[in-house]
């Protein structure tokens, strides 16, 4: 999902001898569905896993502002423009909120941003795909935010308190994002032939990347078991992916659009089974070779560098005010 990099960089090993009593107590609290709070003792691996997961989620929100943000200036109606600004603003808000949640684990936002800009930190690969038409904005809302909700609703019950609470608010807003995306898609699907073509083309391009957002199949996912035991994660990648497919295929049918998968079929239990996913593409994008990886990071770096003098001025002004207050 928003934390694919976990697979490449497993958390640092816990310090040689974790206090086994404290460890048992910690696990007992988790098993009892208690929330772990910032000042509570926690295993180092739990802390590192959460820092990585929360910060990658935050980075994804921040980078995720870019592909849709490019359409703000050209949104085709004032209503759509308002909705899109509000949505992209929400994403920035989620980023800020999640960086704060990560900071409760003892790492500064500036350090996390540095990790993003230097290319050391990962963010969701989905944002490395381009948005060539307006229908991509609709498809991102419908499919990408739809997939995000599948993953994030269980995170509202994550064992780490600050993350779980952040996710409650994030999920409420994501649900608005998904609805507006679907509604925008519906307008296109019910629109002119040119709009319908645009909608189908966007579905063709976003369908498979959206399915890959849930991460590799369970058989290839190294960290699911530990994350499930610590109740950072409640469902496996494949469980969530199946839920998303079952939810989304009927929506596509209602729109009158064709899911780009000749092997898609409903099994006897009513679940939709897809054809095989092309994981080589997923891995290529994850490794930095996707269509827009370089552009996205370059854009973030440019904004950060161009704003350096502004941040310095704010600090200098605050220091002057503090000095005047003392004088």
């Amino acid at each position: 999902m928003y934390t694919q990099g976990l697979l490449e960089a497993p958390p640092k090993a816990a310090s040689a001898v974790e206090d086994s009593e404290r460890m048992a107590h910690f696990q007992a609290r988790i098993d009892a569905e208690e929330k772990i709070e910032p000042k509570d003792w926690m295993p180092e691996a739990y802390r590192q896993t959460l820092i990585r997961q929360i910060s990658q989620h935050a980075h994804s929100e921040i980078v995720g502002m870019l592909p849709e943000g490019h359409w703000i200036s050209r949104a085709p109606s004032l209503l759509r423009k308002s909705i899109l600004i509000a949505k992209v603003q929400d994403e920035g808000g989620h980023g800020a909120y999640l960086y704060s949640a990560a900071e409760t684990l003892g790492i500064a936002r500036s350090e996390l941003i540095e990790q993003l800009l230097s290319g050391r930190a990962k963010y969701s690969s989905i944002f490395n795909y381009p948005t060539p038409t307006w229908a991509d904005v609709a498809a991102i809302g419908w499919l990408v935010d739809g997939a995000a909700i599948m993953n994030q609703v269980p995170l509202c019950r994550c064992s780490y308190g600050p993350y779980a609470r952040a996710m409650v608010r994030v999920c409420k807003e994501e649900s608005f994002h998904q609805r507006q995306g679907y509604h925008a898609m519906l307008s296109l699907a019910r629109g002119t032939p040119a709009q319908q073509r645009m909608a189908q083309d966007a579905l063709n391009r976003w369908w498979w990347p959206a399915l890959m957002m849930f991460g590799p199949p369970d058989t290839a996912s190294q960290h699911t078991a530990l994350s499930v035991r610590w109740k950072i994660k409640r469902f496996t990648n494949d469980e969530l992916r199946q839920k998303f497919v079952d939810f989304t295929v009927p929506q596509a049918q209602f729109l009158g659009l064709t899911v780009p998968d000749a092997q898609l079929h409903q099994d006897e239990d009513g679940h939709y089974q897809t054809g095989p996913l092309d994981w080589s593409e997923f891995n290529a994008v994850l490794k930095g070779n996707g269509p827009c990886n370089a552009e996205r990071i370059a854009e973030r770096r440019e904004a950060h560098a161009a704003g350096a003098w502004v941040r310095e001025a704010a600090i200098a002004h605050a220091a002057k005010r503090a000095a005047r207050a003392v004088a």
Partner: protein, 258 residues
């Protein structure tokens, strides 16, 4: 009470409302370009917030202009299907963002002017305009706090930031003049109490600006002779580019619903 009693007044008021609406829309469009590109996440959010408010104001004003005009034009007809020579926004709103300092100077000047203007418009004899102004003024007060806060920070920050906003202020100041060059339309509406007198708005603007420039350690530039008149559709070179982008998708699909 409604001030619109004759077709001539309705035409004048429509034009005036479009001036307000176009300024809001064009400024919203400019500011929204900062979303995802600001110096910090909080500034992305601040610019998005203000842009969204401005867009909301534009939509209310376009709806009212459409009713006054009575020709069935919608907010999107006004925003997407008029030419550059039909737009009546204050010229300053259409000027490029430049760096963050230039954006802040532009925003602060426009906020302080619009705050004074909309505060006085809440007393309009045209009830609808007064209501729209009453809603907008709450938003503009916040916008002014944001932009003046940043202007003070940058003016009284580092040597570099001071220099940048001082240069931007000199560059932007000539565009202030148009706001206070009262024309026949404004005069006629002011006589009927529909809009405030330009002189009263100018006095309020200057009173609000002076302490902010002082705190920002900036000097108010002198007035210049040349006046821009975006409000009479005499624009800078920049508006047509802005509209080309804003209107491109809408115009590519005539009659489509979105």
């Amino acid at each position: 009470m409604n001030a619109v009693t004759t077709p001539a007044t309705a035409r004048e008021l429509t034009t005036y409302v479009l001036r307000l609406a176009d300024t809001s829309l064009v400024l919203a469009q400019r500011l929204s370009a900062w979303i995802g590109h600001g110096p910090a996440i909080e500034e992305d959010l601040g610019c998005a917030n203000i842009s969204l408010d401005l867009l909301g104001q534009a939509r209310l004003l376009y709806a009212y202009a459409g009713e006054l005009e009575g020709a069935g034009r919608t907010e999107d007809d006004f925003a997407y299907l008029r030419e550059e020579c039909d737009f009546l926004n204050a010229t300053m709103a259409e000027l490029p963002n430049g760096d963050f300092g230039q954006t802040i100077v532009r925003q602060c000047l426009l906020d302080l002017w619009r705050l004074e203007l909309f505060e006085q418009l809440t007393q309009s004899t045209d009830m609808r305009l007064a209501q729209i102004a009453a809603k907008a003024v709450k938003e503009i007060r916040y916008h002014g706090r944001y932009s003046s806060g940043w202007l003070v920070r940058l003016g009284d920050g580092t040597d570099e930031s001071h220099q940048r906003v001082a240069t931007a202020l000199v560059m932007l100041w000539p565009y202030v003049a148009e706001w206070f060059a009262e024309d026949a339309l404004e005069q006629a509406l002011a006589e009927r109490g529909v809009v405030p007198s330009v002189a009263a708005v100018q006095a309020g603007f200057e009173a609000r600006l002076a302490p902010i420039l002082r705190a920002a350690t900036l000097t108010r530039p002198s007035n210049v002779d040349y006046r821009w008149f975006g409000k009479r559709a005499q624009h800078s070179e920049h508006l047509s580019h802005l509209l080309a982008e804003l209107q491109s998708l809408h115009r590519a699909h005539p009659g489509a619903q979105w």
